[in-house]
């Protein structure tokens, strides 16, 4: 019996051996990465690639293709056109859509055996794998991950008599604080808004995902085939969002743009903005006032949503290319590199092990805001993720925008979104 098992293992090893040899023969991989060329992040990634090449001889060429939406467009268009990368960092929430296009390959097809795969993936924070599971398999590896956090202007807090050390934990507290922080000049013009949250195309659904969770509601099923927009709690979340402007006048009317939240905050035009942890390094470098980072409040207590990108592997890659891509991914995910990545960018390291490294421990001790987001991972949910994801996003975004522009009531907006989402998802309902 033992003998047979050894034999089997030996056979497996001999079968696996050529794969490794072939993997080493792969010297070039193309890797799409969702970031603008320029800025610190590409330089960091370039550095990792160079290090990886020095170690393994495999040349990974990162293609920086713009923001998440643009990179998704580029990668999918290229793959559909018959070329394209072997792997890419794309929005974690795109899993169902990508799977539906039949271009992904699951993690168990990369050459790792089931036990090794399980040990490896069990090392990640469960919240970051929330958008990776479908059909009983894992389809992506967390990498550039974040949660939504609040950046707040401590000086402004002190100015209006709020305790800068205590960020609101409930909706009611936030509403009150934001109203207090809103400042008008003699002519009645607002010179500082209490709070701003992004509602533009590409971001509204993320903001809303957090708000829905804050109301205690999840917007879709895990299979990505059903959505639950027309639900009292979803309506409540949208009502709260709209109320910040319409009732409390602590947020501007209409919609705010993601790209302008950073300048708004740094300019002192907004006392609180909901943004990504990935913006921490930027804010730290440019804020001319004391700022704090806090978890999002919730209806009754803090709740948030995860965000950011995972590494996906594409079907058209050969077995050897897949193995090489996996090798690079494991190289990136190693605790010391994850720690380095988190320190340099502000994104959350994807595994608890990274927070045990000396480098990250020291960094967090010296700069506590860097560790805020991690504390909220237990109350975070996955992003809204369905089949035909971009279409469902579009439907939701349009209705949110209509509601924030006061052309639709929150109830109407959610009901319309649900009708539209049902129509879009009809072909995917099984049974």
């Amino acid at each position: 019996m033992i003998h047979r098992r050894t034999l089997l293992a030996a056979t497996a090893a001999s079968l696996a051996a050529p794969t490794i040899v072939r993997a080493q023969a792969v010297t070039k991989l193309s890797f799409y990465y969702p970031i603008a060329v320029g800025g610190p992040i590409p330089a960091i990634i370039d550095g990792y690639c160079a290090e990886f090449k020095a170690q393994t001889g495999i040349e990974v060429t990162p293609v920086y293709a713009g923001n998440y939406g643009e990179t998704l467009t580029k990668a999918v268009t290229a793959i559909k056109g018959g070329s394209g990368p072997q792997f890419a960092v794309l929005l974690a929430a795109e899993m169902h859509s990508l799977q539906d296009m039949d271009i992904l390959t699951p993690l168990d097809s990369l050459g790792l055996d089931a036990a090794a795969l399980k040990t490896w993936t069990d090392g990640f924070y469960p919240a970051f794998l929330a958008n990776s599971r479908a059909e009983g398999k894992l389809w992506s590896v967390p990498f550039q991950r974040s949660t939504a956090v609040m950046y707040y202007n401590k000086d402004a807090f002190a100015e209006v008599g709020l305790d800068p050390a205590k960020f609101p934990r409930t909706w009611a507290e936030l509403e009150a604080a934001a109203a207090k922080l809103t400042k008008k000049d003699a002519s009645g013009r607002v010179t500082r808004w209490g709070v701003k949250m992004a509602a533009d195309v590409g971001n509204a659904q993320w903001t809303f995902g957090a708000l829905a969770n804050q109301a205690g509601h999840i917007l879709m099923n895990e299979a990505g085939t059903e959505t639950y927009f027309n639900h009292p709690k979803a309506i409540e979340a949208l009502t709260y969002w709209r109320g910040l402007a319409a009732t409390h006048h602590a947020s501007p009317d209409g919609i705010a743009n993601w790209a302008q939240l950073s300048p708004d905050f740094l300019e002192g035009n907004a006392a609180i903005v909901q943004h990504t942890t990935g913006n921490l390094t930027n804010v730290k470098a440019n804020a001319k006032f004391n700022f704090g980072v806090a978890g999002l409040p919730g209806k009754d207590g803090p709740r948030t949503v995860v965000g950011g990108g995972n590494i996906y592997f594409f079907k058209h890659a050969s077995a050897a290319e897949r193995a090489a891509a996996l090798k690079f991914t494991q190289f990136l995910a190693a605790p010391e590199r994850a720690a380095d990545w988190s320190i340099k960018t502000g994104y959350i390291a994807t595994q608890p092990a990274a927070y045990e490294t000396k480098a990250l421990k020291d960094y967090v001790a010296g700069f506590p805001p860097a560790d805020v987001a991690r504390g909220f991972l237990p109350v975070a949910v996955g992003e809204l993720s369905t089949f035909e994801n971009q279409r469902v996003y579009a439907a939701l975004t349009n209705n949110i925008q209509a509601s924030l522009n006061l052309t639709k009531s929150p109830a109407q907006a959610m009901a319309d979104t649900q009708v539209e989402a049902d129509r879009i998802l009809k072909p995917f309902k099984k049974g």
Binding site: I103, S187, D200, Q260, T407
Partner: protein, 289 residues
């Protein structure tokens, strides 16, 4: 005769091949695609006849895009042409700093839309953006120009007019400068007013140029969506979704080739109708050499 025919075809062939390969053929392929469903993973495209068109008929976003594009065209075309003409008339006379003013009018043509769209983004920023800063001393409140469904499309129109007028001015200017100076002298002798001269002489002589500019303006009204990509991505609530932007979104964000093709066919038909109107109806009335 026979040799000339062969020669002529040889001269035309390269241009014709390129035109057919990248304009006519894709147009036909698009028409064919519009009768099929979108291929998905393992599901091949399926012939559905006119179903895509009937779906489009009931698609509210499509009607929104049509509506927006109509407003966009109706506003940008006349405003940019009239402004272009005014600019050309202004710099055709000896005003002080003429070269500088002409240069100013023409700068938008030289600045990539994609770059200036980001600058316009600042101009339109609420509270501390340029427009709100300028309006503040006059008691102007806060304007969320791009975030409000009522002002987002007008903002897009303003940027498009700004971008186009200077370019069209060049054509009018060339036409004005080519006008025989003795016409003007004769009019001066007769003592006719400037307005009369403009209306009776200048304007009719500018008609062919106007037609030419009009054709370009119409095309641009359906082609120029770069600033939408940068500034609003069709939002808020589709207030700035134009037809070509919707095609781009359908084709490269939803990967719905059926929808994208159907939309393209509609746009082609629309452009065809407009071409027929311009050349068939207007062209006959205007002397065009």
């Amino acid at each position: 005769m026979r040799k000339e025919t062969l020669q002529a075809w040889a001269l035309i062939l390269p241009a014709l091949l390129l035109l057919v390969a990248f304009t006519h053929w894709p147009a036909v392929a698009t028409l064919v695609d519009s009768f099929y469903t979108t291929p998905k993973g393992s599901r091949p495209p399926r012939f559905v006849g006119l179903e895509n068109f009937t779906d489009l008929w009931t698609d509210p976003v499509f009607w929104r895009a049509m509506h927006n594009n109509a407003i966009y065209a109706i506003a940008t075309i006349p405003i940019s042409i009239v402004l272009a003409l005014a600019m050309a008339l202004a710099v055709n006379t000896a005003i002080p700093g003429r070269a500088l003013v002409r240069m100013a009018y023409f700068t938008p043509t030289m600045l990539p839309m994609i770059a200036v769209a980001n600058i316009w983004l600042f101009f339109f920023t609420p509270d501390y953006g340029l427009f709100d800063q300028i309006l503040a001393p006059f008691g102007g409140g806060r304007h969320n120009w791009l975030g409000d469904t009522a002002t987002a499309l007008p903002a897009m129109i303003a940027v498009a007019v700004w971008k186009e007028a200077g370019f069209f001015m060049l054509f009018f200017l060339a036409a004005l400068q080519a006008m025989p100076p003795d016409l003007k002298e004769a009019a001066n002798l007769e003592g006719s007013s400037r307005w009369n001269f403009f209306r009776r002489v200048t304007l009719p002589l500018l008609m062919p140029t106007t037609l030419f500019v009009l054709v370009n303006a119409v095309i641009n009204a359906f082609r120029l969506v770069d600033h939408v990509v940068v500034m609003t991505r069709g939002g808020p609530d589709n207030a700035t979704t134009l037809l070509l932007y919707y095609i781009y979104e359908a084709g490269f964000r939803f990967w719905d080739t059926a929808l994208a093709s159907t939309l393209t066919v509609v746009l082609l038909i629309l452009l065809g109708l407009l071409a027929w109107l311009q050349f068939g109806v207007l062209g006959k009335r205007i002397h065009y050499r």
